[in-house]
């Protein structure tokens, strides 16, 4: 297996140019939404709004304005996190979602049947149906480019190196150095998903944030969907057991009544 590869996204240097979104769309030949006629969000300069089956990269604009002179823009190029323990891969009933030799998570479009289990399983809301293929789709971390030694299209296009591509080991070292540098300057910087002992065994696409994860639309403690399996199955068995006993007891009581009734009439 090749070394684990991924992205480190330094949100502090993102300028919201959306070059990554365009490069991703172009390389992966993703269709336009609504025939190219985009409906404006009306409450934000962010008109892409979300990651879905035809938006595998999304530059999130977080507009924090309290008044005309008091505010800031946070920008984050969002993408599939290629979780080390991936919920989508865990629940996929067709085996369409696989882990590649680069430790990335890829949906095989010719195997997926569009059941949408992965969409509900992803704690980050990354996956959605591509209406053209009728299958679930998301970032492949440009698996086709990686196979021939090329860098993913988005990080290649990023003009500020907000999106950095490399081996996970190298990216983590770089991210820690950058976080320390910002902290020394008094910036409230924190890494999200860079810890292999953290949630989901770490994320192969991790971030440097300067606000709480929720502000960026990221869950504080993402979890695997199967965390509920044992408990939920156990309570279901308990419920079934109670109903089974009630059915048998009721039946027995009625039969006893019948026997008693017929005995009395004799």
């Amino acid at each position: 297996m090749a070394e684990a590869m991924g992205f480190f996204t330094d949100t502090t240097v993102c300028i919201g140019c959306k070059a990554c979104e365009v490069a991703c769309k172009e390389w992966n030949q993703l269709p336009a939404e609504n025939g190219g006629i985009r409906e404006l969000s009306g409450d934000s300069y962010d008109n892409t709004r979300r990651l879905d089956g035809i938006h595998w990269r999304h530059v999130r604009f977080i507009e924090q304005f309290k008044g005309p002179y008091d505010g800031r823009w946070l920008m984050m190029s969002d993408v599939c996190k290629h979780c080390v323990q991936a919920g989508c891969l865990e629940v996929c009933p067709t085996g369409a979602i696989i882990r590649t030799e680069f430790d990335t998570v890829v949906i095989q479009s010719d195997v997926c049947n569009g059941c949408r289990a992965c969409i509900a399983a992803c704690p980050f809301g990354v996956i959605d149906i591509n209406p053209v293929s009728g299958t679930a789709q998301k970032c492949t971390l440009c698996y086709d480019r990686l196979k021939v030694g090329l860098e993913p299209a988005c990080s290649k296009a990023c003009p500020t190196d907000s999106i950095q591509f490399g081996t996970i080991t190298e990216l983590r070292t770089r991210a820690e150095k950058r976080a320390d540098q910002l902290k020394a300057q008094g910036v409230k910087a924190a890494l999200y998903g860079a810890d292999s002992d953290g949630p989901l065994g770490g994320l192969n696409s991790f971030y440097l944030l300067v606000d709480e994860p929720e502000v960026y639309g990221l869950p504080r403690k993402p979890q695997l969907p199967t965390r509920n399996l044992a408990k939920s199955a156990g309570f279901s068995v308990l419920s079934a057991g109670v109903l089974g006993v009630l059915a048998l007891v009721g039946l027995r009581k009625r039969r006893m009544d019948q026997v008693g009734g017929s005995g009395g009439s004799n």
Binding site: P93, V111, N228, G234, L243, G250
Partner: protein, 306 residues
């Protein structure tokens, strides 16, 4: 804020809601039919046969609903076999959808066998091949009881795994409580009993037999109400999602019309058909409200605090 608010909605809507409803009825009816098959008397045979018929039709309908809901319906078999390595089996024991796909197939097989056995018992099978199969599992025989028993156990699984499936996600409400499976088991039992009451009345079921099913329905409704209360209690702050139209549906449609009203009718020993119709309505609205309340949560507005 629960971390489930950051996930995406899977667009499981009408076909899935109908499947959850039909699967619950089929599973519950089959379970009750199997119990009466094993422990009931000769007067229960019409209800037993009706139960197996409901299960067989429900299983076939469930498979059809699940297939047409897929983005690529012709690839439905990818859930059962490895598409690139046919005929190697595709099965993940920890994925409720994978487990469920196999369970529906096996449930369908056993419930259809039981239904054929019931038809053979009534002498309704004309086709020689079907008569041969039905004759082998003729209703009332030892083998028929075993086949019916397996179908009944699988029926409970079909009724409940849909709730477990919802819990094994990262969606609001569904993944915020481990009680949905238990709730769907209880609802499947009550709706299955209600279907047997309504159909049994038309198929010559004895008064005694219907009274047994009705008595079981009353108990199932009490269990359902208790589990529903635990489920709501376990959601904690996520309950704010119910401050919507779907909360109203849950309160008025499910709790009042679907559970309390039929319970009252049962206790007053009023005609069983009216109570059964209300139970079916409540069972459908339970699935409707549970699915749409979560589907309607917009992750971005919530994330942005809007």
């Amino acid at each position: 804020m629960s971390d489930t608010f950051f996930s995406g909605a899977p667009h499981w809507t009408w076909f899935i809601i109908l499947y959850f409803f039909v699967g619950g009825i089929a599973g519950g009816a089959c379970f009750l039919a199997a119990v009466l098959d094993w422990f009931g008397g000769p007067e229960d045979r019409p209800v037993v046969r009706t139960g197996y018929n409901v299960a067989a039709v429900g299983a076939i309908l469930s498979g059809a609903l699940l297939t047409i809901d897929l983005g690529q319906p012709l690839r439905f078999w990818h859930m059962l076999f490895q598409s690139a390595n046919f005929p190697a089996i595709m099965f993940k024991g920890w994925s409720p959808i994978s487990f469920g796909a196999w369970a529906i197939l096996v449930f369908g097989f056993f419930s259809v066998l039981s239904a054929l056995g019931g038809m053979a018992e009534e002498g309704r099978l004309q086709n020689p091949a079907l008569r041969a199969v039905g004759g082998a599992v003729r209703g009332g025989s030892g083998l028929a009881k075993v086949v019916g028993g397996v179908a009944g156990l699988l029926g409970v699984f079909i009724a409940g795994y849909t709730g477990v499936l919802l819990s094994v996600t990262n969606r609001p409400i569904w993944a915020d409580s481990p009680w949905l499976g238990a709730l769907f088991v209880a609802s499947g039992a009550s709706t299955g009993a209600a279907a047997l009451i309504l159909l049994g009345l038309r198929r010559g079921a004895s008064e005694q037999s219907l009274a047994r099913v009705s008595a079981f329905d009353t108990k199932a409704l009490v269990v359902e109400l208790l589990v529903l209360a635990i489920f709501i209690g376990s959601l904690g702050s996520v309950n704010r999602v119910w401050l919507s139209f779907w909360g109203l549906v849950l309160l008025v449609g499910v709790v009042w019309l679907g559970i309390l009203a039929p319970l009252r009718l049962h206790l007053q020993r009023r005609p069983v058909a009216s109570a059964a119709k209300l139970v079916l309505l409540g069972g459908f609205l339970l699935r409707l409200a549970t699915i749409f309340a979560s589907e309607g949560v917009d992750r971005y507005r919530v994330a942005a605090g809007m």
